[in-house]
């Protein structure tokens, strides 16, 4: 006869510093990937919408490739291939610990594909007449894009971009494939080491929920403010 599972939360307090380190890794990846993803994603979106065919094909191919493959696979590929590339391209000494670097690169390039779709939709959500009006005032394409279309597009997109950021934060848990200790990895390792997996998983789930829920509430609030402004 087995008994009901006995919970034992005692390994959490001692592990907090290590868990915090993991959280820092998660946040670091999220932050860099969001920033880089938005910049590169914007470039991809503009390429995709441009009338220069090779550019728009390149962007479409890039986006479709990255969106077809599971993130786990992308991270694995990056973990195994990027170190090589960087070594040969940039002359890094072999054996540099590039787990964080390659994870960030993998996330950033992967997320850029998703961001570019959001941004493309954002640009297309600006009424066509706005571009026409800017042109009619004598602005050229660059001026119209920069002063008129993109500011509105970004304003429309902010909630979606933030939501994607929250998803990205959740997905950082997948870096376990490279044995990198992000928050989830740290919780898992502590649980494994102490034989307290169930407790640590529940704890990790609760922490993620609190953070992501709070963040998505904030996005909603922000969205409402944008609407009324």
């Amino acid at each position: 006869m087995y008994e009901l599972y006995e919970f034992d939360w005692s390994s959490i307090p001692g592990a907090l510093p290590f868990l915090w380190q993991g959280m820092v890794v998660s946040l670091e990846i999220t932050f860099v990937a969001v920033v880089f993803g938005i910049v590169w994603g914007t470039a991809l979106a503009i390429m995709r919408l441009s009338s220069v065919t090779p550019l728009s094909w390149f962007a479409a191919g890039y986006v479709n490739l990255f969106r077809s493959v599971p993130l786990v696979m992308v991270l694995l590929w990056f973990f195994l291939i990027i170190p090589h590339l960087l070594e040969s391209l940039l002359g890094f000494p072999r054996g540099t610990d590039m787990r964080l670097g390659s994870a960030i690169a993998g996330f950033a390039l992967f997320e850029a594909a998703y961001y570019s779709e959001i941004i493309r939709a954002g640009i297309q959500s600006v009424p066509k007449g706005q571009m026409a009006a800017a042109n009619a005032l004598g602005m050229n394409y660059r001026q119209a894009m920069q002063r008129v279309v993109l500011p509105q597009a970004f304003r429309n997109m902010v909630p979606l971009l933030l939501t994607q950021g929250i998803i990205l934060f959740q997905d950082t848990s997948l870096v376990y494939v490279s044995a990198l200790a992000d928050f989830f990895g740290a919780a898992y390792k502590v649980g494994d080491r102490d034989g307290r997996l169930v407790e640590m998983l529940l704890f990790a789930g609760a922490v993620y929920f609190v953070i992501c829920f709070a963040a998505s509430q904030w996005v909603r609030h922000f969205q409402k403010k944008l609407k009324t402004a």
């Binding site: 087995y2 599972y5 006995e6 034992d8 001692g14 592990a15 290590f18 694995l76 973990f79 195994l80 170190p83 090589h84 070594e87 000494p93 072999r94 054996g95 540099t96 610990d97 590039m98 787990r99 494939v177 490279s178 044995a179 390792k189 649980g191 494994d192 080491r193 102490d194 034989g195 997996l197 169930v198």
Partner: protein, 274 residues
């Protein structure tokens, strides 16, 4: 082939692969420091490399590896040497090189003491867990086919998960390398509930993993390991990890030196069992 020694000399750095929870071979203690039997032997090898290259200073970088990425990481040069709980077998020898054997295990079974399961035949028709990608998994599946035992085999992602499967009653037995089974026991909630039973189904040799066809490097590592074993130094290390209380819980594995190990320490070699 690569010249790892040259690379180490040029960069003044060596990158070591280690495991995160292969108790007591290579794992983190509660301060996130890598410790363990294999790890200490690896450090011996590093000392030998440093001496061989006459380096005043050698930077050591540690990189945790998993059972699925360790081979690739050796091959692509991310790590130079990995000493954990990696079995030396002929398939792997096609991709990587192995040092002198540093440990020999038997694959056995962990069960709950009061479960009435004493050996492998008792498992017929039951749920049994093992860790994915290990030799035990192969043996278990083969045994199941050959003897038509009707077991349901669960392949868990890592040893921790395997033990959780056993602990929560999903499986009645956990087949794995005996030393690792004792290691898992060391972190269990109630270590006294569990027992390692059954006749060993195979013996396996753990070796340190390095790139293939790099005889100079292999020689330095092999010599260091051989020296530790024949000089009797290794007995102290063995004692420390298998006969005395170890972190994280201060449990004693109580795993006396087997005959196979005694023979190994007398005449070290790098042969794979099989």
């Amino acid at each position: 082939a690569e010249d790892t020694l040259k690379k180490i000399k040029e960069t003044g750095t060596i990158t070591l692969g280690h495991r995160e929870s292969s108790i007591p071979f290579s794992y983190y203690d509660d301060k996130q420091q890598v410790i363990g039997y294999s790890h200490e032997l690896m450090l011996k090898a590093v000392d030998a490399i440093k001496a061989e290259l006459k380096l005043a200073k050698l930077d050591i970088k540690l990189m945790p590896v998993t059972s699925s990425n360790r081979i690739t990481l050796i091959q692509n040069g991310s790590i130079d040497l990995e000493c954990g709980s990696t079995t030396n077998n002929t398939e792997r020898q096609k991709q990587v090189g192995f040092s002198t054997t540093m440990f020999i295990i038997g694959t056995r079974l962990m069960t709950k003491k009061d479960s009435g399961i004493k050996d492998f035949p008792d498992l017929a028709g039951k749920n049994v867990v093992t860790t994915a990608g290990t030799t035990s998994e192969r043996l278990l599946r083969k045994m199941n086919e050959d003897k038509k035992m009707g077991m349901s085999i669960i392949s868990a992602k890592d040893h921790g998960e395997s033990f959780l499967t056993l602990e929560t009653g999903r499986a009645v037995g956990f087949m794995m390398d005996d030393a690792l089974l004792y290691g898992e026991m060391a972190k269990a909630k109630r270590a006294g509930d569990w027992a390692v039973v059954g006749a060993p189904q195979s013996y396996e040799a753990y070796g340190c993993m390095m790139r293939k066809d790099d005889p100079a490097f292999k020689k330095v590592v092999d010599d260091a390991l051989t020296r530790a074993m024949t000089s009797g130094e290794v007995n102290k290390i063995y004692d420390k990890w298998f006969m005395q209380p170890i972190p994280p819980k201060g449990l004693n594995l109580d795993f006396p030196l087997s005959d196979a190990m005694k023979a190994l320490y007398k005449s070290p070699n790098d042969k794979a069992y099989e």
